[in-house]
């Protein structure tokens, strides 16, 4: 698996981004809550989340199942709206944006790896990536992106011809390919063995370091937290603890 995210274009891009006067915090939330349903059946997925995510950091979100991690990712990723509270992306208030503005925001800034891969079954791996590069302003080629996750040779296969882990890697290639400002990964390594898993984490780290992208990773594997700048412990719809790592492990050294 080659990790040639350090290609010429990537570097130019990173330089541009660094030079464009970065906002100190990519995300700021205040009292963010999310309630699904109403009445007796209401589920409080988020119960007042106050969060600051500094730009350019790699952040890991840990927490038990059902604690609201995906919900938080969806809201700050512009896929969903909170019930109350505010969300800022840099200095723009996401929670006040129209649907069209949110669409613009997703298109221009966000890369998403969904918990359930969400590949288009009728498109090949390459075409699934193209779906995103097609509308991005400065994307890599689909081949480059698939090469990063070690699937260069499977570009013309349909999702039904790929294993679960391979599908997950296509999903990662798709999210990385647009060279996003922020990259959200909902359990990106859940279905992967240790070698492939470490390689994927390496890709995420490269995106973070070389493109300057803010990367948010949701995971159940506590060991992954060791490579993050910042670890957010989540429980029952609220932040229990935020830990900043003084020393970070390289992906290769993470225990699986």
């Amino acid at each position: 698996m080659n990790s040639n995210v350090t290609n010429a274009r990537g570097q130019v891009n990173a330089v541009q981004r660094a030079g464009s006067g970065q906002h100190p915090y990519t995300y700021t939330t205040n009292g963010l809550t999310k309630v699904y349903g109403e009445g007796q059946a209401a589920v409080h997925a988020l119960r007042g989340v106050d969060l600051k995510i500094p730009s350019g950091e790699m952040v890991v979100l840990l927490g038990p199942s059902g604690s609201g991690k995906s919900t938080l990712l969806n809201i700050i990723g512009g896929l969903d709206r909170g019930t109350a509270g505010t969300v800022f992306f840099q200095d723009q208030e996401l929670s006040a944006m129209s649907d069209a503005q949110l669409t613009r925001y997703r298109r221009d800034h966000v890369g998403f790896v969904f918990q359930f891969y969400n590949l288009m079954p009728s498109l090949t791996a390459r075409e699934n990536v193209e779906l995103v590069t097609e509308i991005a302003t400065d994307p890599m080629t689909p081949e480059e992106a698939l090469g990063l996750v070690g699937l260069g040779k499977r570009a013309d296969h349909f999702p039904s011809q790929l294993s679960g882990g391979e599908q997950q890697r296509v999903a990662i290639a798709r999210a990385v390919a647009k060279q996003p400002t922020v990259l959200f990964c909902d359990e990106p390594t859940g279905a992967l063995d240790s070698t492939t898993g470490r390689a994927v984490l390496k890709v995420l780290k490269d995106v973070n370091e070389q493109l300057g992208a803010t990367v948010l990773i949701v995971t159940h594997a506590a060991a992954t937290a060791a490579m993050a700048h910042r670890v957010i412990h989540f429980a029952d719809g609220a932040i229990r603890e935020v830990v900043e790592n003084d020393t970070r492990l390289n992906p290769e050294d993470i225990e699986w």
Partner: protein
């Protein structure tokens, strides 16, 4: 190619079976529209061209006897482009081996050259030569009906004298497109002939040397018809004018017009109903197809595609199917319209064909299909767009079973697991199920109504010939005779019953509306040919009033109590004022009835009859016909069995023939709807069904879950379709009715049963097709992709 477009193509390929089924339904809807309107425009255009090329007159002015030089006066009327006089008279043709003589019209052609007006189209043989007075041309359809050819001889009685004639050619003319014996409505090639003879020969036969008894006029483009008619009548009055009339009142043309108008009326109501049903199906199917793409829509939106981009993608999919179906419909419509026009031309006896399409039908077909598909797509897209991408991407919220409560509990104990799954799906998605039920019900309704129409045609014939007219034979006289003739007929052995009738040709006027037809003077309470009310009981004909057929009353806009102006077109041609005293149910023609004595008194001609209805002993018929044939007063004898057969033939080959095509199309639509309902249910459930199989359900049990749903939907649809069909049959019956005949809506139990069986067969076949696909499904690949 952009990935979305590639997805479009692959999706289309994946759902090709269903896309074709949807396309087929919309295609037959459009086909019907295009074909039918092409038929009408072609007939119209062919008729126009035929009239023009063979210079059919615009005005016909019959007269007793006018000197030849009068024609110059007629030609000088302002607005008249050309005038020609000719001789025309009635004749009887004797065909060896036939019991009865056949009625015919003899018409003159100029001795030299072609006629300026009312030219003929020569099918075979040659034109007349003036130095052979026994040469004739014979109407081709009549000749064919009797196996006559050029070279044969023919014996005919003209003006009382029997003559041997030689057929030198067979011809046809726009003047005789539709022919029927005098006093009859239904065309019968074998029972009415036309003979063309040279002017001098015919003049000699009818004592018209140096004279004419019919003037033909053609008009300039901006001529005023009523003024020309008035002037012509004034000029011919000293010679015994019988009343000039325009082309629209000419016998043949008025029938052709009625047939074409009838076809047009059918087209205005029936194909739109079919297309409407197809459009509804398209709407339902498309909205469910888009609905099932909800998660993919959410995903593409999550990547930052705008609503417009996503919407355009799905509309492309939807419009490809809709426009593809419409285009196929247009093409098939042209092809089948073309084939059908040929058949119609045979029926209408046009010598050539001008095939012309109606561009409006293409536009309508496209607009209806494209808009119903777009509306179906757009409404669902709007609902999905209203969701956040996160919600759209997640599978629909698991249903709330907390409400099923005790009923649910009770059911659990009664039903097995697969039955409960069927039941839950039905109750959980009532909107979707209602759409499927309505769709299938509409298909059933179409079938019910079309089967009902089939029996409506039979019922029309049955009512007309067994209930309203109970005679066997109609004998018409050369002129109005003394009523003693009736007693003469009565004394013929084998004649059981005789009933006199006086037919008077009239123009009925009410306000600005008018109708050219006849009044039938009948006995006060006739037994053979009756006026009946809506309960099919005889109406007693009171003195001093007129009873109109319902269709005639509608045409004139009158109701009982109103007064009609009646212009009599024969004898002394009085103008009468007669109150309408009732309306009668007739399904054939648009007759008006008066009491015989009252009619005669109003005309100032007491005790006259012009025809008689006879009921006879069929064993004696040959002898009776022989006697009638030799009675000098008898102009013609027509048998009801002939008329009935002729009408049956006319409805099976003329405008009524479209009912067979429409019934076939109704069947295609019904099948298409049911099949689509099954396909869609399968498409929506393929994953669930695969999961069932994986956790150990047998193929049969999984199929039950799928087909049980289809079965329940179909069973709900049957009664609803029966009810809708009942109402639809009225609309379709009106569409099929023409001025010549009215088709009653008659939906019998049988119609419901046949339609229900058709729907069930469609359901079973569709179920079997879907089940076959399901058994072939690869479990692994169905489960593997989680969009």
């Amino acid at each position: 190619m952009s990935p979305l477009n590639r997805k479009l193509l692959r999706d289309l390929w994946r759902i090709k079976g269903q896309a074709i089924a949807i396309g087929a339904v919309i295609a037959v809807g459009v086909l019907l529209l295009v074909m039918q309107s092409g038929l009408v425009t072609s007939l119209d255009e062919t008729r126009r061209a035929y009239y023009e090329r063979y210079r059919l007159a615009d005005v016909f002015a019959p007269v007793n006897r006018a000197p030849a030089q009068r024609i110059a006066d007629l030609a000088a009327i302002p607005g008249v482009a050309a005038a020609e006089g000719r001789v025309s008279g009635s004749a009887l043709i004797d065909i060896p081996g036939l019991d009865l003589p056949l009625q015919a019209r003899a018409v003159s052609l100029p001795d030299f050259g072609k006629p300026r007006l009312n030219d003929i189209y020569l099918n075979e043989g040659r034109r007349l030569e003036s130095d052979h007075p026994d040469e004739i041309l014979l109407l081709k359809s009549f000749a064919k009906a009797h196996g006559l050819q050029s070279g044969d001889s023919l014996s005919a009685t003209m003006n009382g004298a029997r003559r041997e004639l030689r057929i030198v050619g067979l011809a046809q003319s726009p003047e005789f497109l539709y022919t029927a014996a005098p006093g009859e409505l239904i065309s019968d090639d074998s029972r009415f002939g036309v003979i063309w003879m040279s002017r001098s020969a015919l003049a000699a036969a009818y004592d018209m040397e140096g004279a004419f008894n019919e003037a033909l006029l053609s008009l300039e483009r901006n001529a005023r018809l009523p003024a020309v008619l008035d002037t012509a009548d004034r000029i011919l009055d000293p010679c015994g004018a019988l009343g000039a009339y325009g082309l629209e009142d000419q016998f043949s043309n008025s029938f052709i017009t009625e047939e074409i108008d009838g076809l047009r009326a059918t087209n205005a109501s029936v194909p739109p109903i079919f297309l409407g049903v197809a459009a509804f199906l398209l709407y339902i199917v498309i909205s469910r197809m888009v609905q099932s793409e909800r998660e993919e829509i959410g995903l593409v939106k999550a990547f930052g595609y705008t609503n417009v981009e996503v919407g355009a993608h799905y509309l492309k999919l939807v419009l490809t199917i809709a426009a593809g179906g419409a285009a196929a419909g247009c093409l098939l419509g042209i092809v089948s319209g073309r084939a059908l026009v040929d058949i119609y031309l045979l029926y209408y006896k046009f010598p050539f064909l001008v095939f012309q399409l109606d561009p409006a039908s293409f536009v309508t077909g496209f607009l209806v299909s494209v808009s119903s598909a777009s509306v179906g797509g757009v409404l669902v897209l709007r609902r999905v767009f209203a969701l956040t991408p996160a919600t759209a991407m997640s599978p629909p919220v698991p249903p709330d079973y907390s409400r099923s409560g005790r009923i649910g509990q009770a059911l659990n104990t009664v039903l097995d697991q697969p039955s409960r799954m069927v039941l839950r799906r039905l109750t959980r998605q009532p909107g979707r199920m209602a759409g499927a039920v309505i769709g299938i019900a509409l298909g059933m309704a179409l079938s019910v109504a079309m089967i009902g129409i089939m029996s409506g045609f039979d019922r029309m014939i049955e009512l007309s010939f067994n209930v309203i007219d109970r005679s066997d034979v109609t004998v018409s006289f050369n002129e109005a005779m003394s009523d003693k003739t009736v007693y003469e007929l009565q004394s013929i052995p084998g004649v059981i019953e005789v009933e006199p009738v006086r037919m008077v040709s009239v123009i009925l006027r009410h306000g600005l509306k008018s109708h050219r037809g006849a009044i039938n003077g009948l006995l006060a309470l006739p037994r053979l040919n009756r006026a009946v009310d809506s309960d099919l009981k005889s109406i007693y004909l009171r003195e001093g009033g007129i009873i109109l057929a319902q269709s005639l009353a509608n045409k004139l806009g009158v109701k009982p109590g109103d007064t009609l102006t009646v212009e009599v077109r024969e004898g002394r041609r009085p103008v009468l004022s007669i109150p309408v005293v009732g309306v009668t149910t007739t399904l054939l023609g648009a007759p008006a009835f008066m009491q015989l004595d009252a009619l005669n008194r109003a005309l100032g001609e007491p005790n006259r009859v012009s025809a008689a209805y006879l009921r006879i002993d069929s064993a004696e018929s040959a002898a009776i016909y022989r006697i009638l044939k030799d009675m000098p007063a008898v102009a013609g004898v027509s048998l009801k069995s002939d008329a009935r057969a002729a009408l049956q033939k006319q409805m099976d080959t003329g405008a009524g023939a479209t009912r067979f095509i429409m019934a076939a199309i109704a069947a295609v639509i019904t099948f298409g709807i049911v099949y689509n309902a099954a396909r869609i249910a399968y498409a929506e459930r393929a994953r669930d069904l695969a999961s069932l199989r994986v956790i150990g359900f047998t193929n049969g049990e999984a199929a039950f879950v799928l087909l049980g749903e289809l079965a329940v939907v179909t069973l709900f649809a049957l009664p609803m379709g029966a009810l809708l069909g009942y109402y639809l049959s009225f609309a379709i019956a009106i569409g099929f009715s023409t001025d010549l005949y009215q088709i009653p809506a008659s939906v019998s139990l049988e119609s419901y049963a046949i339609a229900a069986i058709a729907v069930l067969i469609a359901a079973i076949t569709s179920g079997w097709l879907v089940k076959r696909d399901m058994y072939r499904l690869e479990l692994v690949s169905a489960l593997k992709t989680r969009e």
